[in-house]
Symmetry: C3
Subunit: 148 residues, 3 copies
């Protein structure tokens, strides 16, 4: 702990961007491993906070269970709450694309999460998930920042 | 505590977990007092940020008025937006339990809030509220982290 | 400012409140310029995190595209998801005002965003937006806190 305590005295801030291939359809993409790899490299076993931020206007960051249907359930919920129909004032891009711009209002593009000993202190069933309903944009950037 | 207090001037990070009894029905539980007690003990009168994080996949952290109906209104909204019916792919647990796993998509399991002079800088009508629609899980952990 | 710059190496925390005139109808108000002005004055070219917090129980902070209809689309979505009718238990103020108290459950009153070189690292189409559906309260306070 002596080294950790030493670095806390200097407010370690580490930031990077990673590229994510989301493809041409809506996705709930588990990026927990990418967050963990960043922390392994940059957090140096320290405690602090990880800020996950997606700098796009049609995406969000959620913390969900993945792999047992809930990721698809969440995308289905967003389809129902924000239908891809002609109600939207924002009319660029694919039909119904206006809904994609409302997604970050309900699923914020940022999450700030505790890090203990260089690892995300997630619950056993939690994953960090990039929500992207916008199939027109197959590649996304995510910014990861550690403050320890 | 002497060492911790010393480091407050240089980037103090303090973290702990607290246990919350949520019982067997859905709840919007005011945990502001628990947050305040943590800050009294650990923030030592400093400015900074409090991160409130619930490490469970069927719960969220909201900031709401409590005690005048809005907490119940919010639970009713979640029942309407996320009905406990058979639409969910995630099918473990009680009937309709799949909805509980979608809750954190709309009510994120984290909140990062300003602390001034060791106290949460909340508005007069704001409370920190644990949202938990999952009656199958009567006890919950919440992680509180102060960064000052 | 020299003292502040000195303290960046030791966990600079700067906080202030700004006043926003929201008027008497629901708004999605772009406050990105106000955030940028704060960072210019207080972040001193540093990296870190900006916490944006609205200390009111009927408002939220979203990150959205503005100026091309999506801000209005989001307010329309909130009108549909949270109708201003008589369903709400919270019954003070204007008819349907109970909905305003549910807004922060879906649109959290806080956002924590990365700052690089003293500037918000937003995507090109992203703005920080104050969501306020409560026309009874024409002036609002927003707290900006930089941690670098």
């Amino acid at each position: 702990m002596a080294d950790n305590i030493h670095s806390t005295h200097q407010g370690l801030f580490q930031t990077t961007t990673i590229e994510i291939t989301t493809g041409s359809r809506e996705v709930a993409l588990d990026i927990t491993d990418r967050c963990a790899a960043f922390l392994t490299e940059r957090a140096a076993g320290c405690d602090g906070l990880l800020n996950v931020f997606v700098p796009h206007a049609t995406a969000g960051i959620a913390v969900l269970e993945t792999g047992s249907g809930s990721d698809d359930d969440f995308l289905a919920t967003l389809r129902e709450l924000l239908p891809a129909d002609d109600r939207w004032r924002h009319r660029h891009g694919s039909p119904g694309h206006g809904r994609d711009h409302v997604v970050p209002g309900l699923v914020a593009p940022h999450a700030t999460l505790p890090v203990i000993g260089g690892q995300l202190a997630l619950g056993i069933w939690q994953s960090v998930v990039l929500i992207d309903t916008n199939g027109d944009n197959p590649r996304r950037t995510v910014r990861l920042s550690f403050f320890g």
